[in-house]
């Protein structure tokens, strides 16, 4: 499967870009040329276009945009991964329980899931953040807490079909506990679609984080995040294009690369799409 995936151009390109972003994020303190929060208000430094000294130019407080972008990558990628981890943890467990036990348990869980899906997630997120107050931790938790129903349904569907398989019946006949059957026997076989969905979710979590930071509900200033760099940039969009173009492109490329990988994997894993 891995081999097959690596033959897929989409997956390779997407993975390479993701790998690159991770390197940037991890190496941020080394590759950043300036302190991302160091301000310099002298007119020769602030709002300067890209130059050798400032690769991506400077912002309205004279901060080096390149360094801010590099540090901002950490926020975006962390949010993406942590939010998706929370989503998976909740979604997989609840979906597994619903699908495995079926009956009343399944009905109750699925009605709850449907109720949550009724609300557009961005409004749900905005509402919760208005109560909790904006912070990066809250953003990750809230994105995780509002995005699990999708995975939950996916896992449930897999479990519904897998629990009837012979090997599951055999395990049950041998007296294996529910926990063992769920986690050792069924789950490993149900993971492929979850993996695809998780990859795609990372992209959307990054996008949500950017949107929230753009609205001032995400990462608080002066910590750089692509979303809040974009927010500041909009004040200067006509005169300092680099402040909006660069974070915009970064968000675009990152989300795109997760989607490439996700779609590529889906194509590889889905027998109906086999070439």
């Amino acid at each position: 499967m891995l081999k097959e995936a690596l033959n897929d151009k989409q997956v390779v390109l997407g993975s390479a870009l993701i790998l690159f972003m991770f390197c940037v994020a991890i190496l941020a303190p080394i590759i950043a040329t300036h302190d991302p929060c160091e301000t310099n208000l002298s007119p020769e430094v602030k709002l300067q276009p890209p130059s050798r000294e400032h690769l991506f130019g400077t912002d309205d407080l004279g901060r080096d945009l390149y360094s801010r972008m590099v540090y901002g990558a950490r926020i975006s990628l962390t949010v993406g991964l942590v939010a998706v981890a929370i989503m998976l943890l909740i979604g997989v467990v609840i979906g597994a329980i619903a699908g495995y036990f079926g009956g009343v348990v399944d009905t109750v869980i699925m009605r709850i899931v449907e109720a949550i899906l009724c609300f557009p997630s961005i409004f749900l997120i905005l509402m919760i953040l208005a109560f909790l107050g904006p912070s990066i931790i809250n953003v990750m938790v809230v994105i995780g807490l509002t995005s699990w129903p999708g995975v939950c349904r996916l896992v449930r569907a897999e479990f519904l079909s897998l629990r009837e398989r012979d090997y599951v019946v055999a395990a049950r006949a041998l007296g294996a506990s529910h926990r063992r059957i769920i986690f050792r026997h069924i789950l490993p076989n149900a993971l492929a679609p979850v993996f695809v969905s998780a990859t795609l979710s990372v992209g959307s979590a990054i996008l949500t984080e950017s949107a929230l930071s753009f609205l001032g509900l995400g990462v608080q200033i002066p910590t750089p995040s692509w979303g809040n760099i974009l927010t500041t940039g909009r004040f200067y969009i006509e005169s300092a294009w680099w402040m909006t173009l660069i974070p915009g492109l970064a968000i675009l490329i990152t989300v795109l690369s997760y989607n490439l990988v996700g779609e590529g994997l889906r194509a590889v894993l889905d027998p109906r799409l086999k070439r």
């Binding site: 407080l61 200033i221 002066p222 004040f235 006509e238």
Partner: protein
């Protein structure tokens, strides 16, 4: 007779205009419905009546009862819907509004007002001295929790001497009395027996002013229409629309695309974006020192800020000049205290806390703060010096100030977390409840220097504006003294002293007086910039028929 006649016509007009859709879409631009009403009306001195003035502001109004309004958005709407006994003119002198004339006697303790006759409430009832008495009684009613009661606590008695004559008797002479009696008068016949804080009136006011309240859609817009029976004269601009656009960049886009007619430009917009022939072709820009200042306030109830030396250190570490040059693009002046710069009450000798990080470090050391555990954050008795600095969303200057001071304080080893909060919850949940450590906010300054509401220890009680809990006996005494003194020179001395004491204690880091930099569409004529700004003669502004954008 004349009024009754007008009243009938007015009623008919209101009725039919209710049938027409008022506002169709507010997604990205405003479309106003096209029905014809009063478009060819000519008022006195032949200025045409018509069109609408659409303003853009960051926050929505909160309560449209003049003495309960404590934010600028509510205040500016109340100013158009209500009248006080007095008002200030373009040179900030106190002149009569509802009062035709007045007489001060017994050394300033008794003021007798005679009201204009024939002034009507927007519902057609006559405005009388009973309404005036009702307003000030309601204002003083502790149930209503009015933030301005301190300015009226010396009133001993309010006597109605006739339908249009009223007498205020003060326990002690009160210098700012005439100015303070400019508070908007509310109608007794509607509000008697109502709980004002809960009444529907606060969102649907009936006043006597030049504009009649028409519609309020929360967080979107408030529409006022011109009062054809206004006792001075009918305002020439037919509608006043206050739109809520919680972001200055969006406001600017709306301005240049014609969605709004005016906004306060940001310093950057003023200096670099609008200094072009193209912009000036469509808009007039104004520039004057605003009657207000921006500050960082420390919650003195928080033990972290109890030591004066700590607050002084925080003030010394803030480079105000850098902020003015860098963030305000030079459009501001350094502020050292709570009075208007250039006024006789502003002391030039008050402590200015010129940027001096070394001195700040010394002061912190003296106060017992040092980095004992080597983590880069100073501490005392095992507690690190960490606090949260909050400000409201939508004000780029305040956000930039937060970023800069966080940086400057971090060099002293102080860890500051910034939180930007939407206006309504910023005021309700944090400021009013004193639920903050430090905040960045601004005060607009009235013409009279009486600062009881903000600096007297009594004002630190619930509902007061002294939310940082500043308490100083000497300042309390001086504030009370200043209110009794009518001699301008002596008052100046008192307030200068107050300025010096407050500055010396650094409960705020006073930052700057920003310049007000409004831009107004060129189709509005009759604007007269004056010490009071540009809004003082709004009812005289007009649009020529050719230039009209909106019709009713």
């Amino acid at each position: 007779m004349r009024y009754r006649h007008f009243k009938k016509r007015n009623k008919r007009r209101t009725k039919s205009s209710l049938k027409t859709p008022q506002l169709i879409g507010v997604a990205s631009f405003f479309i106003l419905s096209l029905t014809f009403f009063g478009t060819s009306l000519l008022a006195q001195n032949d200025r045409p009546v018509g069109d609408a003035y659409v303003s853009g502001g960051i926050g929505d109004a909160r309560v449209l009862i003049p003495f309960l309004a404590d934010d600028s958005a509510s205040g500016s709407i109340c100013g158009l819907v209500f009248n006080g006994l007095t008002k200030t003119d373009k040179d900030l002198n106190v002149v009569g509004d509802l009062a035709k004339k007045w007489q001060v006697s017994k050394g300033g303790k008794v003021i007798t007002f005679e009201l204009h006759k024939g002034v009507m409430w927007h519902d057609g009832e006559p405005l009388t001295a009973e309404d005036v008495k009702f307003t000030y009684d309601a204002l003083m009613d502790p149930k209503n929790n009015c933030p301005y009661t301190a300015s009226y606590s010396d009133i001993e008695e309010i006597e109605v001497l006739g339908s249009h004559k009223i007498r205020f008797v003060y326990k002690e002479p009160y210098a700012p009395a005439l100015l303070k009696l400019g508070m908007g008068i509310i109608p007794r016949h509607i509000l008697e027996g109502e709980n004002l804080r809960k009444s529907a009136f606060k969102r649907k006011p009936v006043g006597s002013g030049p504009y009649i309240f028409e519609k309020w859609k929360t967080d979107e817009y408030i529409i006022l229409k011109s009062n054809p029976d206004y006792f001075e004269h009918r305002p020439y601009v037919d509608r006043y629309v206050a739109r809520v656009i919680p972001d200055q960049a969006v406001q600017y886009l709306e301005l240049i695309t014609g969605g709004i007619d005016t906004m306060g430009l940001t310093p950057y917009q003023y200096r670099y974006r609008t200094d072009t022939a193209r912009f000036k072709e469509k808009f007039d820009r104004y520039n004057y020192l605003s009657h207000g200042y921006t500050y960082i306030g420390y919650n003195l109830a928080d033990p972290l800020f109890a030591d004066r030396r700590v607050r002084e250190a925080l003030s010394y570490a803030v480079d105000k000049k850098e902020i003015i040059e860098g963030v305000l693009f030079g459009l501001g002046e350094v502020c050292t205290g709570p009075f208007l710069k250039g006024s006789p009450y502003y002391s030039v000798d008050a402590a200015g806390y010129d940027y001096d990080p070394e001195k700040a470090k010394e002061l912190l050391k003296e106060a017992g703060w040092s980095d004992t555990d080597g983590d880069g954050v100073i501490d005392k008795d095992g507690n690190p010096f960490k606090f949260k600095l909050i400000t409201n969303q939508g004000n780029k200057v305040r956000e930039d100030v937060a970023t800069l001071v966080q940086r400057q304080w971090s060099q002293l080893g102080i860890e500051v977390e910034i939180q930007i909060i939407a206006w309504a919850s910023f005021i309700d949940q944090f400021v009013d409840k004193k639920n903050f450590q430090a905040l960045i906010l601004g005060w607009s300054l009235p013409t009279d220097p009486d600062c009881y509401n903000v600096w007297h220890s009594e004002a630190s009680k619930k509902g007061g504006l002294n939310f940082i809990s500043y308490k100083n006996r000497e300042v309390d005494g001086l504030i009370e003294e200043g209110r009794r003194e009518f001699d301008t020179k002596k008052r100046a001395k008192t307030y200068k002293r107050i300025h010096e004491i407050i500055a010396g204690e650094a409960p705020y880091t006073f930052l700057f007086f920003p310049y007000a930099t409004p831009a107004v569409s060129k189709r509005f004529h009759g604007i007269e910039p004056a010490p009071a700004g540009i809004g003082h003669n709004f009812i005289d502004w007009y649009v020529t028929p050719d230039e009209r954008r909106y019709t009713w």
